[in-house]
Chain length 496, copies 4
Amino acid sequence: MPDTKQSPLIPASALADHATPSSAWIVLNNVIWDVTDFLPAHPGGAAVIMQYLGRDATAAYNEVHSESLVSRHLDSSKRIGLLDPDTLDAEWTALNAPPSSTTAAPPILKSTKPPLDAILNMHDFAAAAEATYSPKAWAFYSGAANDCLTHAANLVAWRDILLRPRVLTGVRNVSTKTRVLGADFSVPFFWAPTALARMAHPEGEKAIARGLAARGSSLCLSTNSSFSLQEVVAELPRDYPVMYQLYVNKDRAVTEAHLRGIAKLRPRAIVVTVDLPVVGKREADERIKTDVAIASADNLQQKVEPGKKVGGLARATGGFIDADLRWEDLAWLRGITDIPLFLKGIQSAADARRAYEAGCAGIYLSNHGGRAVDTAQPAIIVLLEIQAQCAWVLERMEVFVDGGVRRGTDVLKAMCLGASAVFLGRPFLYAVGYGQEGVEHAVDLLRDELETAMQMCGITELGQAHPGLVNTALVEGRVMREEGHPFARKIVRARL
Amino acid sequence: MPDTKQSPLIPASALADHATPSSAWIVLNNVIWDVTDFLPAHPGGAAVIMQYLGRDATAAYNEVHSESLVSRHLDSSKRIGLLDPDTLDAEWTALNAPPSSTTAAPPILKSTKPPLDAILNMHDFAAAAEATYSPKAWAFYSGAANDCLTHAANLVAWRDILLRPRVLTGVRNVSTKTRVLGADFSVPFFWAPTALARMAHPEGEKAIARGLAARGSSLCLSTNSSFSLQEVVAELPRDYPVMYQLYVNKDRAVTEAHLRGIAKLRPRAIVVTVDLPVVGKREADERIKTDVAIASADNLQQKVEPGKKVGGLARATGGFIDADLRWEDLAWLRGITDIPLFLKGIQSAADARRAYEAGCAGIYLSNHGGRAVDTAQPAIIVLLEIQAQCAWVLERMEVFVDGGVRRGTDVLKAMCLGASAVFLGRPFLYAVGYGQEGVEHAVDLLRDELETAMQMCGITELGQAHPGLVNTALVEGRVMREEGHPFARKIVRARL
Amino acid sequence: MPDTKQSPLIPASALADHATPSSAWIVLNNVIWDVTDFLPAHPGGAAVIMQYLGRDATAAYNEVHSESLVSRHLDSSKRIGLLDPDTLDAEWTALNAPPSSTTAAPPILKSTKPPLDAILNMHDFAAAAEATYSPKAWAFYSGAANDCLTHAANLVAWRDILLRPRVLTGVRNVSTKTRVLGADFSVPFFWAPTALARMAHPEGEKAIARGLAARGSSLCLSTNSSFSLQEVVAELPRDYPVMYQLYVNKDRAVTEAHLRGIAKLRPRAIVVTVDLPVVGKREADERIKTDVAIASADNLQQKVEPGKKVGGLARATGGFIDADLRWEDLAWLRGITDIPLFLKGIQSAADARRAYEAGCAGIYLSNHGGRAVDTAQPAIIVLLEIQAQCAWVLERMEVFVDGGVRRGTDVLKAMCLGASAVFLGRPFLYAVGYGQEGVEHAVDLLRDELETAMQMCGITELGQAHPGLVNTALVEGRVMREEGHPFARKIVRARL
Amino acid sequence: MPDTKQSPLIPASALADHATPSSAWIVLNNVIWDVTDFLPAHPGGAAVIMQYLGRDATAAYNEVHSESLVSRHLDSSKRIGLLDPDTLDAEWTALNAPPSSTTAAPPILKSTKPPLDAILNMHDFAAAAEATYSPKAWAFYSGAANDCLTHAANLVAWRDILLRPRVLTGVRNVSTKTRVLGADFSVPFFWAPTALARMAHPEGEKAIARGLAARGSSLCLSTNSSFSLQEVVAELPRDYPVMYQLYVNKDRAVTEAHLRGIAKLRPRAIVVTVDLPVVGKREADERIKTDVAIASADNLQQKVEPGKKVGGLARATGGFIDADLRWEDLAWLRGITDIPLFLKGIQSAADARRAYEAGCAGIYLSNHGGRAVDTAQPAIIVLLEIQAQCAWVLERMEVFVDGGVRRGTDVLKAMCLGASAVFLGRPFLYAVGYGQEGVEHAVDLLRDELETAMQMCGITELGQAHPGLVNTALVEGRVMREEGHPFARKIVRARL
């Protein structure tokens, strides 16, 4: 809770005069803030805030942010005072009744949520989340780009790789211990950076982090997380190894300041997302879009431009991303901090090679869970492409993989084919519906599946995983073996 | 509205004597025309008119034609006069009540038609059209040949090509500008020639053309359009670049006169359709066939011949096409006008090469939206066949592609693989259900999708598209790499 | 009607003494026959007759046989006399009430049978047949072996071959004329030999033959036809070219006599079926099996043997086939008649070559419509196997193909790939539900489809069909390119 | 029934003092046993017994075990006496009412169980079992690991291999005789080792064995069978050839003693299962898990450990398996008995070769019916892998195959590709629902299918089966042709 001692009490009636972009006040957890200057810099876009000018934005804010976040973005000069509770009349209450679409998730019907020990796998967690999360949260978490073809392909690709178990190797004592990022973990799988976990559970990323650490796993926290990295690491044992995902802001100074702050917390890696220069169209999300766009356009007396992009929560929260980030900018980032730099969203062997040449510590093969460009090839296909074209990359960098991982066998296959670690996004967002305990159960289930798969394939340590244990015959036909297109040499288009 | 000043008033009773092929009058928008000589030359076939001899054909005519069309096909000597409104008794009214199947679309139930801003993609437009268009219009637009296998394959082929995005190239400013046909457009996609847009909206092609031009796109107008090219260009800015699709008439003199008239309007290309020497069987269309054939056979006292082809609207409107057009006839066409000649319906590398040798300015790969011969290979397969067999064609001619394009990613894939421009047919027929505004929204959606796909793949101009951005591994197995069949050299059939 | 003048009248009560295998009488169309000696020679097996010993078998007989058939198999000495109509008391009537399962098809509900001109393709005929035929007839006609996988594969294989149309070749005048078997036909497709057409229509094969001949097609009559070849040719113009399908009987003398009789009618080919040495298990058929087996076992006081094969109509009618027919027996057949010999059921390139070496005039690639061994490869795959391994066979013999042909495009593809003619079985069994007119309509539809496909592919005569018009990329991966298995040279099984 | 003469009568009240692990009595079929020492050695795990301490466990015991089993595992010193029937009061009865989940299968509704002669194939047996077995039995029998992908792939793999029948070879007399394990059998297919047949039928393995032997087939009895090998062979003719499946116990001495006992019965092969070092997660099974785990944890005052594996019947019965068995342990097994040793669960060519080098008499390709590690490759793919990599193995060892075999054609395909014999598990568990007669019917159906398939493919003895009779084009694309991965040579991971 912010310190409220020295604050003047402001009557509710005073807010009416500060409900325009040129003088913009909002109420958050009883504190009145002046957001006039902050409006264009809001990572989630100005429109989200604008509909609350001169009003109480607490419900919408708390749904996705920790209470403390605002005081780190706005200095005390922007803190106008406390809303005087004795001045809240019926008019104010009516004005500030949150629209139904921004209220918290409806009360969970206990009858539809199975007990945790009836959850046997990641699919069960997804079913429980679909049954109990708010439609907006489910749409935001589960959605993917356009026709969701890449999202589906991610899931299928793992299934189409078969196992070739070896027998009689002695597998009583099996270990899933993994050394990555210079640290030791109990398992080789981690939480992929995903935004706004507070929509799933009030403790959001904090509960996820505690659950993962309790089981020897870890997370890569999203720039768009509900809780800040500082808040999250405060939940963990001292120096517990974590990663931080970074979107570079259009205002490079913002990113620079932000990164310097992050660096003080010494995450083991800065994972720069490079596959989302703009936010794609996630149609499930957009179909549930709030009245944000319309409301804010009304407030601003703006006309909706012909051809302008409207979007749901995903686009709203991605508007600040710098679409102009380039390979040469990596030097700038590396000048800010010496924390190892990873690139997330590598989708071709050519870029894998280039990342190595650019001095990255590692790469993270991902198509953003099918949320970036639809029909992008699955990460496991990219991994095979790398092996076919430049396998030496796998010896010289750590290579992370995500997308569609749902089973311990999926994890094992990725390790056999050269991944250093595997990430899961949605499954932990669904597990945290049960709080920390749900996350721990998810790790337990996956580790059990992985251990069993390792034993049945005849290995006892992940270092023994090798390509000979998988049958990739079905998926090899989907891999481009050469960097260029096989027809490329024949095409000399005049316009090129 | 035709000028009616000098017209005599004709009593309704006079029409009864002109209800036979040897003296054939019909009423169109209150004007009585003598169509005796025109009957065999009607592009839609004589049968369609014959059921209205001595009667009022206005409803059926207006459903598919502009009011002005008749006065351009029939000179004033055929204009008998005006129907005297004071002579229309109950008998006449009963006789001329339009059969239900030829009335205009039933009133649209507003509840089933979503608001335009709820339309997020081309699929939504199709769903809206299916819910609101007349069964006849929907069957005619949506139908394809026989088992609709090629129609389905067209859609799937794009989905089976995957993207290989490149990252960190700096993509803030993206442009979909396209130069084709010597003109500059805002986007690389256009409206494919499709017939009879007036069944979708009273303004038909006029609304589509205005909407496209407002967004920097354009169209290739069909010979079978509801409005003439003259009417359409009148809606557009002066000299706005358009194309014209041509079916060559069995009566070459008709085509020659028609083409000379068209040439005066200076379209940028004459696109001769070559994949439909006869009209295929579109069974959805035929199941909703009107009573035209039966009615006209009754009127003519004809017996339906054994084995004769009966058909729906598609076959009725295609009966005039010359099935005997040959490569050597292209010289004749090029003698009529110097407007660049394109061939639409090229479906093999061999014919692509031959079109170049025949002096065409370009080719248009198409299987008529699956409406010509069923199980024909998709256009994108033909494009890959051209690359495998004679990629040089792509350097020397403009190459258009259509069939199954529904997403910006589809457009990008076509451009990566060498297309100069991409065409969509049905989606704009469905969008125009919302009038010009619907068409503009369709372009906006597609351009947004295309821009996003380009940015996410790491390019900012279409000239940067190249085959290395696509993974065609899945579809290459469907391409014939050699002109002949791999077995062809082994087969020496005695009968050949 | 058989001549009944000189026949004595026999009282119904006399039959009770002739109801055992050692003295077996039955009544057929009021005539009493002694079938004691004929029982073991009945092509449909003794069991079918045995349940009617001492009873009236007319209903069951007429359902599948012509009335005249019996008098050709049994000489006049077996004709006991006429059943005296004045002796038919209530007991007799009760005894001879046909069981419901052997009565004719239930009255057709007109509402479920569409009018013939609403039938647009072969699928429509099948739907009409399913709705109107007796369950027994539908199961017998539509069924296939075991899991019906080959039946499904037959249909799919045609669809997976794509067309590569050529344009601008001038296709106004198209002809489907075909010369095969030394005769000229209007179309290249014929009726495949299928059994017992009388279950579909009282005129059975007679109506089919008349309909085909009226349209310039023809048929290959089955040994198991309801009407004899003599009866069928009597319906056709003099010397109209037909084929005859032959199953070789376990009693070679029966076949020899039968074939000599057939030869007098001069069919253009004797088509010996070689893919059905025993009758396979058609489970749909067996699930509807009549009480034949049980009833006859009861009558004979037989015990059903452990492990004995029981079956439906298919197995009942196939019991007489000689499973021991060998290549060397072909000389014997050729010694009986000089009519050209074809082998039906060739399923490998090796056997195609061997048929040529054995002096056959042609081969007929077939898997018996999926009714022989399930998971056998489709005929079109065999055709491609022949092209890959011994394409010269196609130059030296006529090659027929059947299995899954439903569209004119299927016919065209077969011709492009080297077939001399194409056969359809089930579609004509379904068309004849409408009598001769239905068969004519079926030919009209298929010819229309074929003509349209030819024109759209750029050819005007079937002699112009060639492999370059088809894209077989998808199905070539299903073809064994070498006679042996690619692994065969590596396997030296000890037991071989 | 055990001999009860010299037993003292024990009052029910005495059991209350022996209801803890430190003094553990249970009642089985009226006999009171002291299981204190036996608890940790129970093959099914201690937990299953623990919930019955001081109580009557007869119902649960009889459901899966023969009555005699206990007296072979516990010597007479553990036999406390007989339960005094006069002391069974209401309290005891209430205490010992079996929970519904451990009662025998509910009474079978005759209406849902088809008569045996309506069972036409293995699918019908499965449907009958699903309709009539207890949910627990059905889940245990039908379930497979995780997403059941391997289980499904097993079934599909056979279907994707096509047949290439040869004709005119003379096939009247066909024989399915098979010589394997030095013995002659009537058919080449046998019962795969599966656990606990008594849940399907009170006579369990005894009925199966009698049925198989009556038809000239045989079985490989499971270590986890309901009846012991001694009990089973007692049902068979003297010296009838059978096999015995062995799981090696964590306590090697137990296995040594057990194997010496088994060896006296002279099975033809000891088939050591090597694909299940630990028991996989069968989720259908776990969803129906009994209250065993919870109940026993309650009794023991244990806390459920975080991350501990809980499981259903499968895991409960597999807890004793030694996960540390190694290639070098095979010498130990061969030192115990000279009965030929087979390895079951070989899943790669590399291990097939190694088994030969280790002196095994044969190998058994299996993925445990999809119950071991999910997404393991089907056995038929392993067979093709062996042919591609080390076909000589097939000449020097007997090679068994199971997984997904449901049809005679499947059996024939396996034999064509080099299998010595084929095994089916679930189908016989479903057939025995009809008792011995059901098993005989199953063999009859399969033999009929196999004979028919052989005849239709042109062979009369299994020794004539050869790879040229199958078209494996579709499945060859799923086979790894080289021992390592094609990319393996390129990957030199630092961690390896």
